[in-house]
Symmetry: C2
Subunit: 389 residues, 2 copies
């Protein structure tokens, strides 16, 4: 099930890894995966995990130990990759251009995988005729719904909604259904507000599905999801499937929203101390934004985690130590502003682990995961990631 | 001199590229390279370009058309890569840990390239004995100088400076000299302040070199540099070499500092319009932070460029159009706040080019450059980039 470490890679323990290195705790990963799988089952919906965070067949195999299941992808490179590993049911959850729609159908024709498309305008719908004729594949298409003013999509009461549905069908394509993403839920922080956002996402989508059905469209799939709303949904009547991605790893932004605890965070960057400035309370490490990403998603939350929360090598949190500055290959560790703690002694050569603000962004900076389990230092596998478009 | 496009890659014009795609304008690249080369020559110093931005042998060949020259690297992966392409004189400008020092000397032993090291503590110096004995390579070592409270390094008047020098020599290593980086210059914005920062960088380093020489250390290399100070230095008496990296491509941060004009920016991301929300003044493109990076370096400058300034396909600036929001694979184009311009019509399928806040960060999100020349749409080459550590 896992890719063995190649002979050339450092084997044994994390002490042998070149730093900075991306570590993935398989125990936490599995626990996070099971938590949402159980919740989706309890709610009676299909879980269609988003592979944009993990971008790894080995992680997908932890989600689907019985073999390929339905997935969401954020790039057609992901679609090609997962199709090559036997995945047959994918939703490409980014609005289509004529060129991307054509490429998606070419991937379908070549691999036999269905790559469902997303759109929200009649212009995009109209482009499907040519795509269908050129590729010989009948596109299966979602209309994107805007439930919270977040990004793309039509409002449930937008008169263009049935018009777009009609135009999709007129091109010979299939209307797969409706898709919404409550992206604004990332800005929330109380259980009540999250439950409300989840219910709002459900209501908006179910209402739009009813409207389309009244216009004669079956609208078989009603797809919603974001990691916060997926976990806080209490009732998904009328919804058929749930999407989420970052839930597999979780991160400090999700912790700030209130979806997970720090102990759920499965991803960290292993770094080495390369300098100290005791007079400033600084410890320098060899992980800058190239390893951590430039993401500052916690800056707008109640607790600003800088470029990440710092732990020891065994993933025990060093209280109030954060990466407060980052340049390309340097991170500066300090005590969090306002804390009464003092900086622990961290000599040159000491290893620390840094938890991500945003798991998708941190993981994207790395070519592979070094897989560990709990507080064991043993590296049990090396899992490659894909990139590009 | 260039890598030909592989058969499988889209050839011909940028219209055939999958978006988002990283474009590199070779005409601007060559002009930027020549500008600083001329300036270094006029000042009578060696230019040791930093390869952390380009990470590409093909770009290095534009800098050194006559064959490998002295370079700076930010990772040992870069050191290995450039050594494999015949580069023999490198400075690894990140503070050493015992493990990285050993790996650097192993690269030296294997390839014959000199990989000069950097440190600022006696503890780091002391670790060199074991590295030298274990690898059979005599380390050549810089002491890092702190000229502006920026990051690592010792102040020129720090009594530890001669002590660290003595300890380096005591381990049997060679003291290569002093290295400073005026990183605080990125926060400046007037020619006077930049000239002053350059002069300060020079004075601090020359002063420290004198001190070391008074203690009996030859200190042959006196190395300074950052892109802003490198361009604004008017006199480099006492300095032997200049380092800079982002100058090859330039970016909006450097434009905000006042080092370049927008017409000097050699890098852009080609993106496709995938949706519009006219009621909000939004145009959605298929380039989010995965393609642009999360860097918001212009947020603290006089003009905030969001996630990048937007141009048409021929790299003509669309006045006051910026990427004001970015999620993983979506960018939202709007008119800059406070502008009296209105959003140009950009239909689904239209291509735009987005200029980077920070070239190092944008380039790091991509596996290769599609190389173009001026306003020609022809893709003349595909240049691979390296990543990792």
């Amino acid at each position: 099930m896992t890719t063995d470490l190649p002979e050339s890679a450092p084997t044994g323990t994390i002490k042998a890894l070149i730093t900075p290195a991306l570590l993935l705790d398989q125990t936490r990963l599995d626990r996070n995966i099971q938590r949402l799988a159980r919740h989706a089952k309890d709610l009676g919906v299909v879980l269609r995990p988003h592979m944009k965070t993990a971008k790894s067949i080995d992680v997908a195999r932890r989600v689907f130990p019985g073999g390929p299941g339905p997935i969401t992808v954020s790039t057609l490179a992901e679609a090609e990759y997962f199709a090559s590993h036997g995945y047959r049911d994918m939703t490409y959850a980014v609005g289509l251009s004529p060129a991307s729609a054509r490429r998606a159908m070419e991937i379908s024709a070549r691999t036999g995988a269905e790559v469902k498309l997303l759109l929200d305008t009649v212009e995009q719908a109209d482009a499907l005729t040519e795509v269908r004729v050129a590729t010989g594949v009948t596109p299966s298409v979602f209309i994107e719904l805007d439930c919270d003013d977040h990004r793309g999509g039509l409002k449930p009461d937008d008169p263009r909604l049935p018009e777009v549905a009609d135009r999709i069908v007129a091109t010979g394509a299939t209307l797969a259904g409706l898709l919404a993403h409550a992206g604004e839920s990332y800005g929330l922080s109380t259980p009540e507000a999250l439950e409300q956002a989840a219910e709002n996402e459900r209501l908006a989508t179910v209402r739009a599905a009813k409207l389309l059905r009244a216009h004669g469209h079956a609208c078989p799939i009603v797809s919603i999801g974001s990691t916060p709303t997926a976990h806080f949904a209490r009732n998904l009547d009328g919804v058929t499937e749930l999407r989420a991605g970052v839930y597999m790893f979780f991160d400090l932004v999700q912790h700030g929203v209130g979806v997970c605890s720090v102990d759920d965070l499965a991803l960290s960057v292993l770094a080495t101390v390369i300098g100290t400035k005791p007079e400033k309370g600084w410890v320098l490490v060899d992980a800058g934004w190239m390893a951590l990403s430039r993401d500052r998603g916690t800056a707008s939350q109640t607790v600003d985690q800088g470029y990440g929360m710092v732990c020891d090598e065994a993933l025990r949190v060093l209280e109030d130590v954060i990466v407060s500055q980052a340049s390309q290959e340097h991170g500066i560790l300090t005590i969090r502003p306002g804390s009464d703690k003092s900086m622990p002694e961290l000599a040159v050569g000491t290893r620390v682990r840094i938890l991500p603000n945003h798991a998708c962004a941190m993981a994207a900076q790395h070519a592979f995961y070094s897989v560990v389990n709990g507080d064991s230092a043993e590296v049990v596998a090396r899992w490659e990631r894909i990139r590009g478009w």
